[in-house]
């Protein structure tokens, strides 16, 4: 019987683990090069990201997906899931661009796109793709059920 703790190539696990510790050590060493006040700010941002994910974003997703689950059937939720994950990701990436707070006066070449329109167009395309996939899925399902009920 293979020992569970040692299963999965123990030497490889040990090497990967030691490598990981070395990299973390290099990171901590580099962090010590940052002055104390700024280091506190880095710590604050690290903790804030973790907190916002674990206690704001994830509970919100869990609650909203419960509500979605009550309204839609399982089959009906497949394509919307792809669309929702895509739109949520695009929105997170677009957020700091939407109001162009980083734009520089007199330099229209950076942050020069209309990000609101671009983000909305991307989301609409995702929804359109999802709708087409849904229709195609239903057509396939109907054909499948017809074939299975046709006497041979």
């Amino acid at each position: 019987m293979t020992s569970p703790v040692t299963s999965g190539a123990p030497a490889a696990r040990l090497a990967i683990g030691v490598g990981g510790l070395v990299l973390v050590g290099v990171g901590l060493f580099n962090l010590l090069g940052i002055d104390f006040v700024n280091l506190l700010w880095v710590g604050f941002w690290l903790a804030a990201g973790l907190f916002l994910h674990d206690f704001v974003l994830s509970p919100a997703i869990a609650v909203s997906s419960k509500l979605v689950a009550r309204r839609w059937s399982v089959t009906g939720r497949r394509v919307p899931l792809v669309a929702l994950v895509s739109i949520a990701s695009l929105t997170l990436i677009a957020l700091p661009l939407l109001g162009k707070p980083g734009a520089q006066a007199g330099n229209p070449t950076l942050l020069g796109r209309n990000y609101l329109v671009g983000w909305a167009a991307a989301c609409l395309l995702v929804l359109l793709g999802a709708a087409l996939a849904e229709v195609a899925g239903r057509v396939r399902a109907r054909r499948g059920s017809r074939l299975s009920t046709t006497p041979r």
Partner: protein, 415 residues
Amino acid sequence: MLIPREETFTSRGRSPAVASRVGVGLGIAISVCFITGLLSHAAQDLVWFPWPTRPSWGYRVTQGAHVISGVAAIPLLLVKLWSVYPRLYVRPTVKSVVHALERLSIAALVAAVIFELTIGVLNIAKVYIWPFDFRAAHFAVAWVAAGSLLLHIAIKLPVIRMALSRPVEADDSSLPVSSAETDEKPQAVASQDPADQPAGGGADQGAEADSAETSEKHGIPRRTVVRSAYIASGLAALSIAGGSIPWLSKLAVLSPSTGTGPQGVPINRTADAAGITDQAIGSAFELTVVSETATGTWSLDELRAMPQRTVALPITCVEGWSTNAEWTGVRISDLLAAVDAPAESRLRIISLQTQAAFGESVLPTQHSADPLTLLALRLNGEELVRDHGFPCRLIAPSRPGVLQTKWVTRIEVIG
């Protein structure tokens, strides 16, 4: 019930099967991002590192890959964390010292990766809402993120192997999800090790069929969750990739650069933002080149009278965008010859700029000797405009844009 328990989350998608499959993509994206980030650091800050001048588009590829892989990691991270979120509420919270260390390493990994992706995306958008130096913090925490990822893989490797070797919809409720549990359930784990299974994995195939049916009844199939993560990742990458890949430019709705600007090239820092005055770049302008044995000075007209070379080189910003352009000017090696300095000299390139960072840069020997490295006077057939570095600027192959110093006034041989 205010505080949920692990059992509160009933979706079958929240499983080692999904976590492992999405985790593979996330691990690849983070690895590419980390390695290309290190390369960028080497190109910018490590004078001793022989950053190559060829291919001339090398930095364009590595930095483009850095930004694209970072953005592509965001959806994968969201779905990965979603799939393992119930583990946050496992009871008891800490079972042993090993379990505590394991949870601590996961907290470090999640915090570091969220930090890196967040400030990375904000940096692309030029939003600096923190007091610390972006580059120093991004670099240091990247090591923590990469190291924590390796630790996480080392700890979870048996679970990852088992989860990946079984069909995605197979029942994995008996899989151990932490090393602490692996310690507690040796028999169960050992019996599920793929190496211990009979050839053909008949039991798993049966489980796959049953579980696929169960998933239809009780939740979205796991493969749909995995596909969602990868499709979203691809779309996120596509939304920004055109900043680095010109033929995708029209699709890059979230790229910080328009891909064009005066003389066909975007501007990262304008002359006004750099504190360049009309007087500094007026008729009194002189370029000074200093070697150990000689000093030479040239007016703009004298520079124009020197042999002119035209090269096609991309210019690449560290924030990921890049553009091809045709540059015309004097070879750096010709200027060095005029002051009796060898072509393979390490140089300090000094700008007229009085504001903002990167007022000077160090040009390594391999770049100064390269025939493609110019002190450019013209861009795409026209005299440089003020915002592109008039009267003259550095352009060298495969070099970060922040080091392509504009408004050059002095070149010193330093080694």
